[in-house]
């Protein structure tokens, strides 16, 4: 059997048997299930009660007697504040409010409740607001106008293409979800695989196996087999996560009002997702190989890696800015910068259209970085993999690379 294939198989099997790998692969679906479970519990607790809630009111301005039943909330009229207070104490009503005689000029409504709360609930506010506006307008404008005042607009947006036809991708939060999930998984996979490459090469260096391996295989075979084997393990991890998404969405959508059922995954997004995963992984893998080559221990290698493994996660830190201005020049530059490109492009694809030229330049820069990184990593491996002890400084590395 080809030696690269042997190393590939060894790395893949060795990695998927690691306890840390199994924990991480199960962690995401388990956490999602936990999240859905918590959502179910919380939504069950906060679900509006089915029994009728009574809210009292005292009408000192006069004429407020319409729309006293809204959903399962009934407004009960009291003649005096004392009567309303007694009913509140006896728990006949949940709360009450007073419409003062000068309400029209002041707009003040006084509300009384026995509950300590930060703000009135959205349901109470809506009921009182609709009750006031409905009674103020009753008899003066048609009923349909009153309804429109209560709910002034229902904004429906249609995105058109440059030729004026309706675009196949209509955007919106629904379309951001999948790229955001892809981006998140991609960032996680890049961080994890960088760790796998570091661990694998670092352990072989630390355990003094490198020279034994290099007496059987070339640096190229070792690097290729290792990067592909660990990449396959990472891909298996992502596949398990992706495969668990439909199941999780099913569980989630039953409680999140079918929101997820409206989500469509465009083929272009899937293709770009796979392309960016492979390119992103290769870039971080060769970089990790180089870092492992110059580091005497796994721990030191991981310390160095913590600097660049922050980069794929970085776009998530500025997500709110990205949502506001998805086409800012800074995002365009970072979509081309190879270390942030994979995750950032995924997120931007969900937010807005990414021009083809940006995708082409971004992919080209990634490919060139991988080739450059591979040459550098192979050179670092040959130079430093057999050097043990102190980690060389940047100046020394540059001098040694130039000398060879």
């Amino acid at each position: 059997m080809n030696k690269t294939v042997l190393i590939f198989r060894h790395e893949f099997l060795h990695t998927i048997k690691r306890t840390s790998f199994i924990i991480v692969i199960l962690a995401l679906p388990v956490l999602a299930l936990l999240g859905i479970g918590i959502f179910h519990i919380v939504s069950g607790v906060t679900r509006p009660p089915t029994e009728v809630t009574k809210i009292g009111y005292v009408d000192k301005a006069g004429g407020f007697n319409q729309l006293t039943t809204q959903g399962n909330i009934t407004l009960v009229r009291f003649d005096t504040p004392e009567g309303a207070t007694q009913a509140l104490i006896k728990k006949d009503i949940a709360e009450y409010f007073i419409i003062p005689a000068d309400f029209i000029s002041t707009g003040i409504i006084s509300r009384y409740t026995t509950q300590r709360e930060l703000t009135p609930s959205a349901a109470t506010t809506a009921v009182v607001k609709n009750f006031i506006s409905s009674n103020l307008l009753a008899g003066k404008v048609p009923t349909t106008t009153i309804t429109r005042v209560e709910a002034p607009l229902n904004l429906v947006t249609t995105t058109l293409t440059s030729t004026g036809t309706v675009a196949s991708e209509q955007g919106g939060f629904g379309n951001l979800i999948i790229p955001a999930i892809f981006g998140g998984m991609l960032a996680l996979a890049l961080v994890l695989t960088s760790t796998y490459v570091l661990q694998s090469l670092g352990e072989e260096k630390e355990n003094r196996l490198m020279e034994i391996l290099l007496s059987s295989v070339s640096t190229r075979q070792l690097l290729t087999g290792k990067v592909l084997g660990l990449g396959a393990a990472a891909l298996a991890q992502v596949i398990v996560w992706v495969a668990s998404i439909p199941l999780l969405l099913n569980l989630a959508s039953s409680s999140i009002g079918g929101f997820f059922s409206t989500i469509q995954i465009p083929v272009s997004l899937l293709v770009l997702g796979v392309v960016y995963f492979i390119l992103g992984y290769l870039l971080f893998a060769v970089l990790s190989a180089g870092v492992a080559a110059v580091s005497p221990t796994v721990r030191e290698a991981q310390g160095l890696a913590s600097i660049y493994t922050l980069l794929p996660i970085a776009p998530f830190w500025f997500l709110s800015l990205l949502l506001l201005v998805p086409n800012s020049p800074i995002w365009i530059v970072l979509s081309i910068f190879p270390f942030t490109a994979p995750v950032l492009v995924m997120l931007r694809l969900g937010l807005t259209g990414v021009p083809v030229w940006q995708l082409a330049v971004s992919i080209a820069v990634l490919v060139l970085s991988i080739i450059g990184g591979l040459l550098l990593a192979a050179k670092l491996l040959r130079t430093y993999i057999l050097m043990y002890g102190k980690r060389p400084g940047i100046g020394e590395i540059i001098r040694n690379l130039r000398a060879r």
Binding site: R208, I212, R382
Partner: protein, 298 residues
Amino acid sequence: MPTVEVNHIVKSYADKIVVDDLSFSVPQNEIFGLIGPNGAGKTTTIRMMMDIIKPDSGDITILGEKLTEASKNRLGYLPEERGLYRKLTVMDSIIYLASLKGMDSRSAREKADKLLSQTGMLPHGRKKIDELSKGMGQIIQFIVTIIHDPELIILDEPFSGLDPVNTELLKNLIIDLRNQGKAVVLSTHQMNQVEELCDRILMIDNGRNVLYGNPKEIRSKYRSNSVILDFEGELGQVLGVTEKRAHKGYVELVLDANTTPKQVLERLASTGIVINRFEVATPSMNEIFLKVAGKNYE
């Protein structure tokens, strides 16, 4: 055709020449000792033979050709800096590393069983490397080096860290390999091993060849004109002896240029003393090593 042919190799790092115009050859059926003090350039020479690092100039041929990926399967290498996968079992480690030498897993397992049994390590086959002692780990590393039946075996400081029992075991295994017709290159600074094992040696110092040849011939070359005598009685003046050097348990008699050991023995016998031991004094490899290395460091 020699198994190893090294011609005028030079290697330098920055301004320091580590290996300086070194040439040697190793035929089949020979244990060849590569000896020298620490930092002499032994490991660098071996790494160039293994194509792990490239010489600045000079040629190396292994098994009649420049080392290729295919010819790597025909040699076994035990480096000075060595280890194994700590979390793998002994058997899994051996099978994986043997597979990288072109063995299929079935033959690797069969051969591993045989070698483990031969070295008394069979009961440890299912243990993780982590659970073994350092000496046991060394034996497993040696098994990994020879499992694929290589034609050339390169051993860099194979006895370091081994107890006397395992040292003896390893020595016998190395002699067996030579008797099977293999070429063995043995790099060591332990001179007693060189005297016992090596058919020829190359001593290097500061990257240069300082001694090359058969240990017996070298010892003979470095022989001083003296004899060792262990006796009972009174030793007076002996004709031809210029100096008597007393050592613990024996006396070294330095002879003049016109006297042979045989003549001295005859003269000693005629004095009536009881001779328990008489031998021509040849320096040990250790003494030659110290003499040559020391001279160059002065």
